[in-house]
Amino acid sequence: MSAPSGIYSKSYEDEIAIARTPIERLALIIGSILLLVFPLITPTYYSVVAIYIFIAIISSIGLNILTGFAGQVSLGHSALMAVGAYAAAVAARYAGLQFLPAIFIGGLAAACAGFVFGAPSLRIKGFYLAISTLLAHYIIFFIIHLPSVAPLLGVPHGFILPDVALGPFTISGTFRNLYFYYIALGLAVFSIITAHNLMRSRIGRAFVAIRDNENAAEVLGINVYRYKLLAFTISSFYAGLAGATYVYFVRVIIPGHFELRVTIEYIAIILLGGLGRIWGSILGSFIIIILSEGIRYITVTYLYVISPEVSAYVEAFKLVIYGAIIIVIILTEPYGVVALLRKVKQYFKLWPFRY
């Protein structure tokens, strides 16, 4: 069903390989080359947008693991990104850690926080759980703003992170964005592969089992609470990684990076892309960021030409369109763009014979 006829796997190892058909392999190679060459042949602005997309992919993969796979709704994702970002920033500033160890520390710190965020999931379910994570979000921000903590973290006007250093190489100056593109790409690929592996292993299956039916999962010997906590922890690791990478990119860490609307945006990304699919996170990040960036660009470029007096109205118009497109996509395909693409794939697989 998933592979065209004529594709045989000689062993189970073959079957679980990532690219199985020649077409898939070709696509993988061409895609990799395109991604590697992209920043070299386009203006830096596109690399910057791409970096945002990569970071969104990392973070939304985390949210998708929690919400899409394990079925636990969270409104605390941006707070976890903040925890990761602040942990990395503190590690870099006070312990002098380099980029990779620092963002790793960020991921771990967020994972620990996520473990705590998930604690209520033993008793609280569904939207109630979402609100408990929302409360956790605000409590984290309250702590960050406490007079005894705030100066240490440079809250609220932020402190500057050191340049990204990889071993003896320091990345700064003119080509900073270019190098950072590759770093973010690498981290995004790392996240995609690890998440893909996790989700096809016993852990991913346990998550889906919990999402679909907790009782059935229990009788299969899955410790539901433990796996929910694990889902929170793993999800938060990606959130922390994304948060840390993000602040390294923008150089300054301020609480304003991680407001609630960021969480909402990530929820939109995974819902739009497709819940419970790693591809959903990738496509969703791509669409949401291109959309918000593109609509801004088009409205500003073309509407200001018509009349320079319309400033605030252009912005309002932009919001209306952005919201409307999200609505239209979901009304067209409630299961997200991934489901839509699968239908198209099926359609063309059978083409020109329809039955």
């Binding site: 998933s2 292993s201 016993r202 089992a209 229990e218 009788v219 299969l220």
Partner: protein, 258 residues
């Protein structure tokens, strides 16, 4: 296998608020048997299974599995020591493929940690492949080859029930709880299911507790039948004997008659 009885239920009492679901119930399931529980709707059959599984905490009573007291054990621990369950409703994972559904049943037999899983190297990968072979064997046993990669939710009900059975088998349990495995099936599907149940019991030596409404099935399959009514045991014995008992017939008045 320790002892003669795989499961002993002693003086079980369960109530919700003021409503009594199970009352002073004791029974023993001999090892290697198919033990059926029958009774009219609301007799408390499923509640008993839920107590054995650990979903309901009885107010009083003990449950002993293989000589070990499990009354206070959580459901997933009970699964880990060898109690599997197929639910009355179809509770397979609809979005997963048939293979993944049954692979999920192998959960307790696998133990790679998250980091190994994320990197998909070494033990994690070997484990996946090894268990996959066992799953293929179960698929083979239940004749599910055709549907291996279909999302389970898209399959006919009869096949879905078979997948659920396969998933339970993947646990390699000692005790299998089947809650109305035949409901909603055609005659042919029922016949198939009966054969699988007998094979599971005889070839794999798995003790089975069967809750079923179809009396002909119960008669044909069971070694022992227990009859419940309003939370109490009203009869127990070999199928032929039990069905002669007048109380049983009375319990079924107005219900599907044996």
């Amino acid at each position: 296998m320790s002892g003669e009885y795989t499961l002993q239920v002693i003086d079980l009492n369960l109530s919700f608020g003021g409503v009594t679901a199970v009352q002073n119930l004791s029974f023993r399931v001999p090892s290697g048997q198919i033990y059926s529980i029958i009774g009219p709707n609301g007799a408390g059959k499923t509640s008993v299974l839920n107590c054995i599984n650990g979903f309901y905490k009885p107010q009083r009573g003990r449950i002993i599995f293989n000589g070990r007291e499990i009354t206070d054990l959580s459901p997933h621990k009970r699964a880990q020591i060898g109690i599997a369950r197929v639910f009355q409703g179809i509770e397979i994972y609809r979005s997963m493929s048939v293979i993944d559904n049954i692979m999920t049943g192998r959960h307790i037999k696998m133990n790679a940690n998250p980091i190994l899983c994320a990197l998909f190297i070494g033990p994690a990968k070997h484990e996946e492949v090894r268990n996959r072979a066992i799953v293929e064997e179960i698929i083979d046993f239940l004749n599910l080859e055709k549907y291996r990669k279909f999302p389970a939710g898209a399959l006919p009900i009869g096949i879905q029930k078979r997948v659920a059975l396969g998933r339970a088998l993947a646990l390699e349990p000692e005790l299998l709880l089947l809650d109305e495995p035949m409901s909603g099936m055609s005659i042919e599907e029922k016949e198939d299911m009966c054969r699988y149940i007998i094979d599971i019991n005889e070839e794999r030596g798995i003790t089975i507790i069967l809750v079923e409404h179809d009396m002909s099935v119960v008669k044909d399959l069971s070694h022992t039948v227990m009859v419940m009514d309003r939370g109490m045991k009203i009869a127990e014995g070999r199928p032929q004997e039990v069905f002669k008992d007048m109380r049983v017939v009375r319990a079924y008045v107005g219900e599907s008659v044996a």
